[in-house]
Symmetry: C3
Subunit: 258 residues, 3 copies
Amino acid sequence: LRRIITLTTDFGTKDGYIGAVQGVILSINPQAQVMDITHQIPAQNIRSAALCILNYYSFFPEGTIHLAVVDPGVGGPRKPILIQSERYFFMGPDNGIFSLALQKEKFSKAIHLKNPKYFLGKISPTFHGRDIFAPVAAYLSLGVKPEEFGPRLSKLEKLKLPAVKEYPQKLVGEIIHIDNFGNLVTNVRRAELGDRQISRIKLKTKSIQNLSETFSDVKPGEGVAYVGSSGYVELGINRGNAAIKLKAKIADKVEFFL
Amino acid sequence: LRRIITLTTDFGTKDGYIGAVQGVILSINPQAQVMDITHQIPAQNIRSAALCILNYYSFFPEGTIHLAVVDPGVGGPRKPILIQSERYFFMGPDNGIFSLALQKEKFSKAIHLKNPKYFLGKISPTFHGRDIFAPVAAYLSLGVKPEEFGPRLSKLEKLKLPAVKEYPQKLVGEIIHIDNFGNLVTNVRRAELGDRQISRIKLKTKSIQNLSETFSDVKPGEGVAYVGSSGYVELGINRGNAAIKLKAKIADKVEFFL
Amino acid sequence: LRRIITLTTDFGTKDGYIGAVQGVILSINPQAQVMDITHQIPAQNIRSAALCILNYYSFFPEGTIHLAVVDPGVGGPRKPILIQSERYFFMGPDNGIFSLALQKEKFSKAIHLKNPKYFLGKISPTFHGRDIFAPVAAYLSLGVKPEEFGPRLSKLEKLKLPAVKEYPQKLVGEIIHIDNFGNLVTNVRRAELGDRQISRIKLKTKSIQNLSETFSDVKPGEGVAYVGSSGYVELGINRGNAAIKLKAKIADKVEFFL
């Protein structure tokens, strides 16, 4: 069965850890199609991983297995889980890493991965990516039923994004992610604005007029606010790096004047 | 059809943007073979991308689709294009990104990608990589004819590399790229030297005798000039990092004494 | 023949060098399955590459071709080699890059890659990865016999890791690698300790009690020593970065009190 297994981790690549994960998968199912999404999630940053997954998971074919391992609690009480939605499988630690994607998916069931029959022989307490997740993903790609891997789970950990504060004249959000281009992703979703018009957006002392469609709606070097490809309002600079130019960082407040 | 699609971008991997591109391609053509060349082109640096493409494109099998997205003008008037040469397809923004490769290829035709039938349903103004280039590349890999995607283009944007200045006793070039090892790529091509012998090469206060064949022609720690694998003269240090040791940077002048 | 070829290099990806290697392989054997392990080995760092290879090579299916190019001596007298063990093929420069893996493998034979029939037409003296290793790996994956590529070699270069010093009351090792999470890998292997109990571990002024099973055996922010997934004793900090917090670097001494 040539099923796709996507990989998102904070392992980096230089230590060979992710190579071991790939090897385990291909040893069990040589037909599996391993797609490396990223191994550059900032170390132990579950929120970054959740936002990354949100950006790609829904573009893959139905039946794709999305494996994500950002796992500060490895070896501790956090559970290794498999979640099945109407269209996809998600596999990783139960720490909220799939929360944002699951808000958009029709949930089917969650399984606590407990059946050692599908683990590597000897489990390293520091490397469940290789010893639990990789082999279980490979067996799943071969058609083993989710229930084979363990009992059902009724409750999952959730990722909490900071809430947007609503006032009569404005919304106050914050920067939750900075992307590769220095664009500043806020926690304000387009859907949240509804019919309300934004007259001005303020980050520290920098004001941006209105929401634009895209970067080139403003002159090179100017600030621009737009709805990013994942549905959140983002702040950027046409042909520039907003994070550097505005000295912005995660958790900086952003005001949206109505 | 198991056709290769290579990807070169400045997206990085950690935001999941490139994951979305991969997912779109595999959803349309599950048999496509997606080869990630790099997603680490410096942000919005078209010249770096053009030099990168020059280094690999010709080693792939005939019929390979080379997709490259470094796109500071996304959403603006720059055109999304498909270029067909005798051996390959090139797809990306019309901003000169394929100029260096096309100098070596027998040009066949260029198409302005305009037919929304082959785009994702709703086009994000900030993410043509996912919404235009990925699906068109996938349909092309399935055998859709280039003419299906839009009208022919008669004129393409060109990348301009800085010119080499010729004097009676010397050529003056400059550093146009610094590679992963700190080697300094100049804009002087071997072909350009013809029969002329170089007696000495000078970068700032550092002199290098002659052109060598390879690093180990000089002692460890010594400077060396050689013709790089893509045909440009490069300056390096045997078992060292020339960029760091010589404090060299892009656009630094290099003198070639005849 | 759909044989796996893994790639480990210090090329980075942004220059297109590794793209050329991939293209050469797929041009010769379109069925080869190229798995990028890493191209982020620190430049010219053979030891890092050897430790990386140790972490993944044995998890791949039998018959996998492990190609690794970290090659400070390229173009000089160092030999390009192919090593066959009972289960795998290893290909790269003869500089000790496979030493740690070979300590665990049943050696079969080594070949000096000399037969130009299997090289790219014109050999660049600076890029054997593309012109020698890539095509030979591709032909090997097609079933060409190792002996076809050149004569047998009886002696291989070996990587020397610093030795652990043994005293009556303690062992003194050192940090040989720092991983992506800032964990400090020492040169002390679990096997080396045998039945001896460790009472305390000291790095500079920092003391760690005992060997733990995993990170969560200590409180967040506390130091922990454990046997890493590759068998070496490592020092880390639960939910933290030991390299940064302890200002540790390669070659720092670590004392293991018995």
